[in-house]
Symmetry: C2
Subunit: 123 residues, 2 copies
């Protein structure tokens, strides 16, 4: 299922991730966000490398039970995006005319709170 993560204080949408049954159970039990990486094929605890652990204040499920909403408090610098930003949604899409070719995106809330190269060890 898809998990939408919002900041429990501001309400801002921070990121989207995926959960399998184990990630869901661990999150419910520990109150710390766990997800399932489809690309790596394994469970991961958010912040296990970066320290940006997400403590879940409230968790909701949607009408058809294929999505959950996590309202969290983020440890460390408060960043949830792997690029070092608070939110993964840091670029806006201009509206009102038919898109042609590549979309021109505007950067918003672009400040990086950490340097990904220093936080994530390269494999």
């Amino acid at each position: 299922m898809t998990a939408v993560v919002t900041d429990a204080g501001s309400g801002d949408v921070l990121m989207l991730a995926h959960m399998n049954a184990e990630a869901l159970a661990r999150t419910i039990e520990t109150r710390e966000a766990h997800f399932y990486s489809r690309s790596r094929g394994k469970l991961w605890k958010k912040g296990e490398d970066s320290g940006h652990v997400q403590t879940v204040v409230e968790m909701r499920v949607d009408c058809d039970q294929d999505a959950v909403l996590l309202k969290v408090r983020v440890a460390g610098t408060g960043a949830s995006c792997h690029t070092g930003r608070i939110s993964c949604f840091y670029r806006s899409i201009p509206l009102g005319s038919a898109p042609s070719g590549e979309l021109k995106l505007d950067f918003i809330g672009d400040a990086k709170l950490f340097d990904p190269a220093k936080v994530y060890k390269q494999p």
Copy 2:
């Protein structure tokens, strides 16, 4: 791609849906939310049956460009869930102990703003 829809006023998460390239282009051009129904295999404009059209105030894309965030104003009663509720996320999951068997969910913001049986024609 996955689309997260939030209320432009309150910031609350209203619903999750999916977009294909056409749904994305129509939404950008018209400023009204269009999605792609994977179960019905077709494009749909949100509110085409119910009148709950979503006007997009702001649209963002995430870091890896597989999700968008739509901040919207909802027409009509203001409901976005097909059950008649404002948000699809009207049930919370109790936290803090290992889930066993079926999850016991608490209903929150459960008021129905419309009667789905009267709004959606049965096929």
